[in-house]
């Protein structure tokens, strides 16, 4: 026989999943939330997203090419996702140079310093965000007025997020019932009509994207559901005990970065557990820490911190939580 044939071990067939397809799936899932953000925050949303994506991809390329002497892999879409998620976690009036610093920290420190995709213990976009939050607290906690500031970027009029209003008010001793009058109704909160970070406002759009990712088997339901459930139960208990000084569970679910965090940040492959039981532990941990920070902590919002803290536990969870083995115990009958 004169033909050259390949001899390789089985299997000889492969599925059509690729890292690229999965990453672009996340990007598509984020489109509805981005459109809603454009509607409420206008030009600021566009500028912040563009700067974040371009600088994340540029840093990834430059670091891989010149510092790591590796073949750049920016086409795999992961830097694009990091850029997009970083932008989603920033206010839309953030000056351009702060965004670039955030991108450098996210990609350089959060991802590449550990060796690139698949090796980083912490979610890179959140590393970037939390760095900015600590370094530039004033800029990171002023959020543009939705709708009216559509045509303004850094000069937009600003206000506090619903979580911020509640935290301040409760600290000052204002009862919850009065505070609720100062913030939009539940339906508006659900759609996203409020102050907040670029991509976190619309629970509706984010959940729609989440359902798309579930259908495309990009994520599984365990992490988002365990986070939502634990937040719901924990805040529900607090609310039942003392409805005057606590916001209800529904309020906690639709405000702040909870949906964005639970569906898109906590589900990051690299930094989340490998088996369903571990995902539950991780998700419940995130939910509980988030509520603890929101209710008793110094900040009105705690999703980012909660995810980063639980990221740190992932290696431990993976080490001790094993999948249900086939034939482990004799389960007959």
């Amino acid at each position: 026989m004169d033909k050259l044939i390949t001899v390789s071990p089985s299997p000889h067939a492969y599925g059509d999943d690729s890292v690229k397809r999965l990453m672009y799936g996340v990007v598509y899932a984020l489109v509805p939330a981005f459109i809603i953000s454009l509607y409420f925050f206008g030009i600021g949303a566009l500028i912040v997203t563009a700067i974040s994506i371009v600088s994340c991809m540029a840093f990834e390329y430059l670091i891989q090419k010149y510092l790591m002497n590796a073949r750049p892999s920016i086409t795999d879409g992961s830097a694009l996702v990091t850029g997009l998620l970083l932008a989603f976690n920033l206010p839309t009036n953030l000056p351009w140079w702060i965004i670039i610093i955030g991108a450098l920290v996210a990609i350089g420190v959060g991802k590449m310093s550990f060796g690139g995709l698949g090796t980083n213990p912490f979610n890179p976009a959140l590393v970037g965000r939390v760095f900015l939050f600590i370094s530039f607290p004033a800029q990171m906690t002023s959020w543009p007025e939705p709708v009216v500031s559509r045509l303004q970027y850094t000069d937009a009029a600003t206000g506090a997020t619903p979580l911020g209003v509640v935290k301040e008010g409760l600290n000052a001793g204002v009862p919850m019932s009065q505070l609720l009058e100062q913030i939009p109704g539940y339906m508006e909160l659900f759609i996203g009509h409020m102050h907040g970070c670029l991509g976190e406002i619309s629970a509706l759009a984010l959940i729609a994207g989440g359902i798309y990712m579930l259908a495309k088997k990009i994520i599984t339901w365990h992490i988002p559901v365990s986070i939502f459930l634990s937040v719901f139960v924990f805040t529900g208990i607090l609310w039942l005990i003392n409805p005057y000084d606590n916001a209800g569970p529904l309020f906690h679910l639709v405000t702040g970065g909870l949906v964005l965090g639970a569906v898109y940040m906590a589900t990051d492959y690299v930094t989340s557990p490998m088996v369903p039981k571990g995902m539950w532990i991780y998700g419940i941990g995130i939910g509980v820490i988030t509520v603890a920070i929101r209710v008793w902590g110094a900040y009105p919002e705690g999703v980012s911190f909660a995810i980063l803290i639980m990221n740190a536990f992932v290696p431990l969870i993976n080490k001790y939580v094993k999948p249900e083995r086939f034939g482990e115990e004799v389960k007959n009958g």
């Binding site: 026989m1 033909k3 044939i5 390949t6 001899v7 390789s8 071990p9 089985s10 299997p11 000889h12 067939a13 492969y14 599925g15 999943d17 690729s18 890292v19 397809r21 999965l22 892999s73 795999d76 992961s78 690139g116 995709l117 698949g118 090796t119 599984t220 492959y269 690299v270 989340s272 557990p273 490998m274 088996v275 094993k322 999948p323 249900e324 083995r325 086939f326 034939g327 482990e328 115990e329 004799v330 389960k331 007959n332 009958g333």
Partner: protein, 443 residues
């Protein structure tokens, strides 16, 4: 009710191109090379020498130990060589080469097509016949069948499971056999039940073969205790432990066999061979083999004499396409890539698959992104990404403790990985290293 196994599993493209093509008898080949090691266990001992005349069905190599079996000449003719020749493993191993002439069958073999339903042999006689006829697991495992039927002391078989799943993509030989030899299969199943002394047999067939399910169900209604079960389409449902779980909801413990949970699994093809051996006195010298592939001119199912060269078989299906990247002995998930088509088919060959070159190359390998897909689809509940890494870094304790030996090499993990990681390649290495370590520990 449609049943399946609960843990893991994948859905590769089925590509069963030859499903509608009836079995054709392949014309007698000019030469056959019959390896003396076509089964798991000790190679058989050749009984013939160069120049000997042999008849079709004549014993030419005899069982050599407990785990071994007999081998018969698949043609009539002259032995030209008893020597090491390349077989499907890619290595040169002992085989018997015979130049074929017109068929002349060994005395006492019934070559007629008449159906013989009457079972007169006792259980022990059936098992003896199966050994004499050289029957091995025809699903691909090639474990000598008589051993599976000799239930060890202290254990008891309650139900016989017949594997008609054919979950391996592309292959259709079992499917055709069920459609065309249904009556014979039923008798074969009764023989196996008698040998095992069980009153119940379950035939598991996947939902993608509704015609076979209908046909065998209607035949089964004449046989007490025999029942066809419809299974959901999912790979690797044909794996022994998965099939047992799907059909009788029992989990074979790690390192144990189906008999430990009261059952024995035999393949559809084996049941047919048992019928022929016991009712027709015909040894295992031929079997059904699918020849298929996207570029193959006429995908076919052939009744083939053991020892026929793969090249002869491919020729009969229209020849090797210009665009040939891989020649696989078996299916795409668990089959073995051949170095050349000039090797013989054996008792364990269920199909020959020709893969075009653009599908023969693997994807580029990227970092593990820890997507957990390999973990969620592993039917044995293992963590392939971890076994791969542990093997790469030679952490053999970890490989062992993470139960690499439970891996049945179904290939689902490598199939699903979005990063194109060669998970199973590493896991195989991990398994064999750990086996060696365990063996040296025992000494």
């Amino acid at each position: 009710m449609i049943q399946t196994f609960p843990k893991g599993g994948i859905h590769p493209a089925e590509d069963k191109f030859a499903a509608g093509i009836p079995i054709r008898v392949l014309p007698l080949p000019k030469t056959v090379n019959i390896p003396v090691s076509q089964h798991i266990g000790a190679p058989s001992e050749p009984l013939v020498a160069k120049g000997d005349k042999v008849k079709t069905g004549q014993l030419i190599a005899k069982s050599n130990g407990f785990v071994s079996t007999n081998i018969h000449s698949s043609v009539t003719g002259t032995v030209t060589k008893v020597d090491k020749m390349m077989d499907s493993s890619g290595y040169k191993r002992m085989a018997i080469s015979i130049d074929a002439e017109e068929d002349q069958w060994e005395e006492g073999i019934d070559t007629s097509k008449t159906l013989n339903r009457k079972i007169s042999a006792t259980g022990d006689e059936i098992i003896r016949k199966i050994l004499d006829a050289g029957i091995v697991g025809l699903g691909g495992a090639t474990f000598p069948s008589h051993i599976k039927l000799s239930v060890p002391r202290g254990k008891k078989a309650e139900v016989l499971i017949i594997n008609g799943v054919e979950c391996e993509p592309c292959l259709t030989s079992d499917h055709r056999l069920m459609l065309e030899k249904g009556e014979e299969l039923m008798v074969g199943i009764q023989l196996l039940m008698k040998a095992l002394n069980v009153k119940r047999a379950l035939i598991g067939i996947e939902n993608n073969k509704p015609d076979a399910i209908r046909h065998l169900s209607s035949l089964a209604s004449d046989y007490e205790g025999t029942e066809v079960k419809t299974l959901q389409i999912k790979y690797p449902q044909g794996a022994e432990k998965q099939l047992v779980k799907a059909l009788i909801k029992r989990e074979v413990p790690s390192g144990k066999l189906p008999i430990d949970v009261g059952t024995v699994v035999h393949n559809i093809g084996t049941a047919f061979a048992v019928y022929e051996a016991v009712q027709k006195n015909k040894p295992l010298i031929e079997r059904v083999i699918t020849v298929t592939g996207k570029k193959i001119e006429s995908p076919s199912n052939f009744m083939v004499r053991i020892g026929t060269l793969v090249s002869d078989l491919v020729e009969a299906a229209g020849g090797l396409p210009d665009d040939t990247g891989k020649i696989i002995n078996g299916g795409p998930m668990m089959g073995k890539a051949l170095k050349t088509a000039d090797v013989p088919v054996t008792k364990g060959t269920s199909g020959i698959l020709i893969v075009p070159s653009d599908e023969s190359r693997r994807k580029p390998v990227l970092n593990c992104v820890r997507c957990a897909k390999c973990v969620s689809i592993c039917p044995m509940g293992l963590e392939p990404y971890l076994l791969q890494a542990a093997t790469e870094f030679k952490k053999w304790d970890l490989v062992e403790n993470e139960r690499a030996l439970d891996c049945m090499e179904c290939g689902s993990c490598s199939y699903i990985c979005p990063s194109g990681r060669p998970l199973l390649d590493y896991i195989r290495l991990g398994k064999s290293t750990v086996s060696k370590i365990i063996r040296s520990r025992k000494q």
